[in-house]
């Protein structure tokens, strides 16, 4: 099969599997969990295969841009799916996170409401589609697929607190969707196209009198993505929503903020990097300042958090802010570090969300929420149902949880020896050596601010996480040892092992990230790849025989 056809697989596979699951009764949870887990494995295999298509390690090529023409129209027309290094990397990251999250949910969360797995698979479909599409309006459609599924997942298990947070979450996202549409419409009105590559070619030639309109459209579009990414002051909904969401859902939500970051990362160089055009670099300063403000807000939030869940929610904000500020610096090397940071922080925060639910299970607050949840679902199945569950409760629970928590803390704060440190080190080195290592060069004040905030936010995270850890693990806990199933601790272990793996393999992974960042900042190969994508010739009757 031609690799071109593999591109659509990350969208088709979860769609078909999710629809298939609707045919089964909700009581067949084990079957459903197995099917969705197999789907996630298939997605992982496919996305790794796609990654290998775009990037062969050790080969100094431009990286392949593979284009899938839906409907077989010549490129500027109709919708295209585009696979390049960045989208392949995001696909792999999504698949890698979805698998532990599904395993975790198989423990007990998928019992808290109907159609958990179907919604989860549709969420994956929306995410994958958003990463693959090369068309602005199609991006909107996949965003809505993703969001619609996320509303269901966010409310999974019901309960007052969750519905209240869900109400705000949905209202915010509906508003963001409207802004998205306004932005897309304005850009279409000025340029007459929605294909991202075609836009990249046309934007430098926009008539001066329309430039204002174009910039306004792009800014409105940007606001829609920044709401998703959680930039201050658009992020007040985020910590509440992520805390209220069920743990496995919060773990996959960790990548949903990264979707906003991804789109900005993809679009701003495509639209505003055209050399010599008067709109190049549009919005970079805004991103930088906004990102810095987000780090400050997130850091204050991390320090002020009493509950562990909110701590994780604000950590998401800090990582978004770091990514946005790094993008605002407009340096290829910083972007490469930021991409590595994206992978590292997504894995770490995802593990943190899962872990927090396990830790808090020993404390009363969340155990009560869970009990209320079960009650609200209207089934009197309580302990006896848990007992015959898939896994066994593991011994030495507290020690294991404590170690995992410490590892998460090290990752989030960016201390050596794990990947969080590597990521921050790369970004700092790049920011403080703007023209390459040892070449001197003027260090901008932005770089100084960025470095300072990076270090302060890591310090604050360490303070806050060690404080929370002391309270959770060194307190007298005779009666309150949490019951943790094996299938619930394994996902945390897998995610943490993955961060260890990307630390050990930091060399090849950084080379990949550098190549990705270079092609992002010089999107010519992307544009050419899309615009010159060959159509599939219609099979003639002779060829068919």
């Amino acid at each position: 099969m031609a690799p071109e056809h593999l591109i659509i697989a990350p969208i088709i596979i979860p769609l078909v599997a999710g629809a298939l699951l609707l045919l089964f009764d909700d009581r067949e949870r084990r079957l459903k969990a197995t099917i969705s887990m197999l789907t996630a494995v298939a997605l992982l295999v496919v996305s790794i295969a796609l990654l290998r298509i775009t990037h062969a390690d050790g080969v100094a090529d431009d990286g392949r841009v593979v284009v899938y023409l839906l409907g077989n129209w010549p490129p500027p027309f109709a919708i295209v799916l585009v696979l390049d290094r960045l989208s392949a990397m995001m696909l792999v990251l999504t698949a890698v996170i979805s698998l532990p999250s599904l395993l975790f949910a198989a423990g007990r969360w998928n019992k808290a409401g109907p159609h958990y797995h179907t919604l989860f698979l549709f969420l994956l479909m929306g995410l994958n589609g958003a990463f693959l599409t090369g068309d602005l309006f199609n991006l909107f459609v996949f965003f809505e697929v993703m969001l619609a599924a996320s509303y269901g997942l966010m409310l999974h298990g019901s309960g007052t607190q969750r519905v209240r947070a869900g109400l705000h979450y949905i209202a915010m996202n509906l508003l963001a969707a409207l802004l998205f549409l306004i932005g897309v419409a304005m850009i279409y009105g000025v340029t007459g196209t929605l294909n991202m590559a075609d836009l990249s070619l046309r934007i430098p030639h926009v008539a001066p009198e329309n430039q204002m309109l174009l910039e306004a459209g792009a800014a409105i579009l940007g606001i829609a993505f920044l709401i998703k990414a959680g930039m201050w002051p658009l992020a007040f909904w985020l910590p509440t929503a992520y805390t209220a969401a069920p743990a496995p859902v919060a773990a996959i939500f960790a990548i949903m903020t990264k979707v906003g970051v991804y789109v900005i990362l993809r679009l701003s160089p495509l639209f505003f990097d055209g050399t010599g055009s008067s709109v190049s670099g549009f919005g970079a300063n805004f991103l930088f300042v906004g990102g810095m403000a987000t780090i400050v807000f997130g850091t204050i939030g991390v320090l002020a958090s009493q509950a562990l869940g909110r701590l994780a929610g604000f950590s998401v904000l800090v990582s978004s802010g770091t990514l946005l500020a790094a993008m605002g610096l407009l340096q290829v090397d910083v972007t490469a570090g930021a991409l590595y940071y994206l992978a590292s922080s997504t894995l770490a925060v995802s593990a943190l969300f899962l872990l927090i639910e396990l830790v808090e299970r020993g404390q009363d607050a969340v155990a009560n929420v869970l009990a209320v949840t079960m009650e609200a679902f209207g089934e009197g199945e309580e302990d006896e149902e848990f007992d015959e569950e898939v896994g066994v409760a593991i011994p030495g629970t507290l020690a294991l949880l404590g170690i995992s928590f410490a590892v998460c803390g090290i990752l989030v704060a960016g201390f050596p020896p794990l990947s969080g440190f590597v990521a921050k080190f790369v970004m700092l080195t790049a920011a403080l050596n703007p023209v390459g290592m040892g070449n001197g060069g003027e260090i901008s004040s932005m770089a100084w601010w960025f470095s300072a905030m990076l270090i302060i936010s890591g310090f604050a995270a360490m303070i806050s996480i060690s404080r929370a850890g002391i309270r959770a693990f060194w307190a007298p806990v005779e009666e309150n040892v949490p019951r943790v199933l094996l299938v619930e601790i394994i996902p945390v272990g897998v995610l943490l092992a993955l961060t260890l793996a990307i630390t050990i393999q930091a060399g090849p992974i950084m080379r990949f990230m550098e190549a990705t960042a270079a092609s992002l900042h010089d999107p010519r190969s992307y544009v050419e790849g899309v615009m010159q994508a060959p159509r599939v010739e219609r099979a003639t009757p002779e060829a068919g025989q």
């Binding site: 809505e144 619609a148 007052t160 209240r164």
Partner: protein
């Protein structure tokens, strides 16, 4: 015609924004609906306002594009209407659930203290 459309969109947006800033969930959902109507009209107008021109080209052969309406915004508007309608309906369900669980229709789930 441009003036009428612009005024219409303007009224819808201003009422919508005012309503979503109100404290009751019902006002918020009506505000979101008004905003989405405004956005739909806005997308439509981005294909330029023309009267009595078909959006479909007649088969093969070269034609003068100026004699035809831009079909793309019309297609976009259809998609946007469907998606907006579905998500608003979903929001309505959540709104009712919140009303049932909290016993109030305030957006924060509790009445402000007086």
């Amino acid at each position: 015609m441009e003036l009428v459309l612009a005024l219409g969109i303007g009224f819808l947006v201003s009422s919508g924004v005012w309503l979503i800033l109100r404290p009751r969930t019902y006002q918020v959902i009506i505000g979101l609906s008004l905003l989405s109507y405004a956005v739909n009209l806005f997308i439509f107008s981005m294909g330029r306002l023309v009267v009595d021109r078909p959006p479909v080209l007649p088969g093969a052969g070269t034609v003068d594009p100026a004699a035809y309406a831009d079909p793309l915004p019309q297609a976009l508007v259809l998609t946007a209407i469907v998606i907006g309608f579905a998500t608003t309906a979903l929001f309505l369900v959540v709104l009712l659930a919140a009303r049932g669980l909290t016993g109030t229709d305030h957006v924060d789930g509790r009445e402000p203290e007086r």
